[in-house]
């Protein structure tokens, strides 16, 4: 496991209304920190890929186990080797936007 404060959990989920609520609801109900979410349909739009930026701490194992139990979550992978550029880029993008 790397020593960065955050890590990325990569999910494959059924692209279905409500899936996002179940996932974000899990984080709020169990008091897990969720620093960022990136989600988009993949393939023919049946599924979505979701990147969750989460704290890399002792609760990570519980986060993964609880995510695996969700009905619409088809796979959970902790992407230790993935850098966070994807989230940094979004930050740049959002930072530029004049909201």
């Amino acid at each position: 496991m790397n020593n960065l404060p955050n890590t990325i959990v990569k999910l494959k989920v059924r692209n279905h209304p409500g899936a996002m609520s179940h996932i974000t609801g899990l984080f709020s109900r169990r008091g897990f920190n969720l620093e960022g979410i990136l989600c988009a349909p993949v393939g023919g739009g049946e599924d979505s890929a979701m990147y969750l930026l989460v704290r890399n701490d002792e609760r990570l194992e519980q986060i993964v186990k609880q995510l695996r139990k969700l009905y619409d979550v088809m796979s959970v992978v902790v992407q230790d080797d993935l850098d966070h550029t994807v989230f940094n880029r979004i930050e740049e993008l959002l930072g530029d936007a004049r909201l």
């Binding site: 409500g18 609520s21 194992e61 695996r68």
Partner: protein, 555 residues
């Protein structure tokens, strides 16, 4: 055949083996009730949706099968939420079907519209908002499969009114949903566990509701007897060990006997089966079983390490896993450890209170007077803990209580479910005057259906467990824990058409036995001392070995 969504749902429920449904009709589920009325499903009209949820729980908890409740949209669905949350915490397979406003009105703040789907996410195992009548063909079997697979739990189906009314043409109905096969136990882990058990000097079994859910009682008893391992039980695991079994130490935790909690303190190998290291069982986690290595077997791998890191774990159905483990373990006598347990029991068991009016003595009298094969439902509060300490629970699924959520008002409607699912078996309700008032309207349902439910209200005129905590931990500042108005429960019961009597503190035990021996429904309002406390009690945040007794209060 041509069906509408409502009659399709009813047909699919019947294919799942559902015989009775509890609920209340309203605007958004009237098509469902119209279809129900034309079927041979039995419906029990409860008087509050929460009671419908608890009645379904009573069916599910007493039989192990999934059970169903209905509610309309808006207030009906919201009233159901408490019972669903309760089912979630105790892993009870309940299917809740709620009416919803028509699809086109969702999101418009329509009459009796709430976001039932959104509100039920954190308290269900899964939930569905049905978008078309065809989706029912998949969703209903899926709901049963989910509720019954792995760690069981509640599933909610939110069904808009237009979907109930929509027509569908079908050639055949889908197969009923059945539970998934459990994960195969890991043979290497089981072998390792067998070696750990052989090497342990003071092993201890810590068993809970998961053992009951999997039907592994015989396997637990065999492991205990074969290897000389004493057993401590959670509230949800009561009945796994017979009351007479010398290796059964009863309930551990906040109100467990000192003998039981000392045994946990002494063990060098804690074998945790179908338990989740709940705070009421463990007390301060840092001082729970401090000298023990831990074996954890459960159907839900997320429990491994959630509270306590096990040395080895096995994700499996407990019955399958224990059958295999029992073939691997070496038989052992463990005379020294048994002698130590006997000594703990001799000095630290729960003594029978000397005061004849003490509620524990009353519970003993009730157990003697009640039919021996009766099912007990216990409400929440002091009476629940006294019953958990002293009621002789002879088999699992015969002592039903709200464990995880601790919902007052559970016992009366749960008893209705136990009664309808177990015809010929008496159901005894142990409740308090506080809990009784939280679902007292169900006396109407009980009278209407003639359920053999015998309600014992242990009446101390207080929210007793609150009063106790205020006495012990809040400087005897009693706030909002005493009832100044003391309703006449017997008169109320008679008003509902239920036989009733009032028994004073200096009652005649014969009168108690007579009142309890006849078929219900009946309500006994039984006076108990107002200021009696449940002991031992582990102060919140303390270790289980720091439990206090009456004479030590405020020390």
């Amino acid at each position: 055949m041509q069906l509408n969504g409502a009659s399709l749902l009813i047909e699919l429920l019947k294919r799942q083996g559902i015989e009775s449904v509890a609920g209340i009709p309203g605007g958004a589920n009237l098509p469902l009730y119209d279809a129900l009325g034309q079927s041979d499903l039995r419906h029990v009209l409860v008087r509050h949706e929460q009671a419908g949820g608890f009645m379904a729980q009573g069916i599910a908890r007493s039989t192990g099968k999934a059970a169903v409740c209905f509610a309309t949209s808006g207030p009906g669905a919201v009233n159901l939420l408490t019972a669903i949350a309760d089912a979630k915490l105790d892993s009870i397979p309940v299917i809740a079907v709620t009416g919803q406003v028509a699809s086109a009105l969702i999101g418009t703040d329509a009459f009796q519209e709430v976001d039932t789907y959104g509100m039920s996410i954190p308290i269900t195992k899964h939930n569905f908002l049905v978008r078309s009548v065809a989706e029912l063909l998949e969703i209903v079997p899926e709901a049963f499969r989910l509720a019954l697979s792995g760690r069981q739990g509640p599933v909610l189906i939110d069904l808009p009114k237009d979907v109930q009314q929509a027509a569908i043409e079908l050639d055949a109905l889908p197969a009923p949903g059945v539970p998934d096969p459990a994960p195969e136990p890991d043979g290497a882990a089981l072998a390792h566990m067998a070696r750990m058990i052989a090497a342990a000097e003071r092993p201890l079994l810590y068993v809970g509701g998961g053992v009951v859910a999997s039907g592994a009682e015989a396997e637990v008893r065999a492991l205990s007897a074969g290897c000389g391992i004493p057993v401590v039980t959670t509230l949800m695991g009561l009945g796994v060990m017979e009351p007479e079994n010398p290796l059964g130490l009863g309930m551990l935790g906040m109100h467990g006997s000192r003998a039981t909690n000392f045994a946990v303190d002494r063990t060098d190998l804690l074998i945790a089966l179908g338990v989740r290291f709940d705070d009421r069982a463990t007390g301060s986690v840092a001082s729970f079983a401090p000298h023990a290595r831990v074996i954890h077997m459960d159907i839900d791998e997320a429990e491994f390490g959630k509270i306590r890191r096990p040395d080895i774990s096995c994700e499996c159905d407990l019955r399958q896993g224990l059958k295999r483990l029992n073939r691997l373990v070496a038989r052992a006598e463990r005379r020294e450890w048994k002698a130590e347990i006997e000594a703990l029991r001799a000095t630290h068991s729960l003594p029978l209170p000397e005061d004849a009016s003490h509620p524990v003595r009353l519970i003993g009298s009730l157990a003697a007077a009640a039919p021996p094969d009766c099912i007990v439902t216990a409400d929440v509060g002091q009476h629940q803990m006294w019953a958990a300490q002293s009621w002789p629970v002879r088999r699992s699924r015969s002592f039903l209580t709200s464990g995880g959520l601790g919902t007052m008002g559970f016992a009366v409607p749960a008893a209705m479910g136990a009664a309808i699912a177990n015809p010929g078996t008496a159901v005894l309700v142990l409740t308090g005057d506080g809990s009784m008032l939280m679902n007292i309207q169900e006396l109407a349902t009980i009278a209407e259906n003639g359920f053999d439910v015998r309600i014992c209200v242990l009446n101390n005129g207080h929210l007793g467990l609150v009063r106790q905590q205020q006495e012990l931990f809040y400087g005897r500042r009693y706030v909002a824990s005493r009832f100044d108005a003391r309703p006449d429960f017997a008169a109320i019961a008679r008003g509902f058409g239920v036989r009733a009597c009032t028994l004073a503190l200096d009652r005649d035990e014969g009168a108690l036995a007579r009142a309890l021996s006849a078929r219900g429904p009946v309500l006994l309002d039984i006076a108990v001392p107002e200021t009696e406390n449940v002991y031992p009690m582990v102060p919140p945040g303390k270790g289980n070995v720091e439990a206090i007794w009456a004479q030590e209060r405020n020390a």
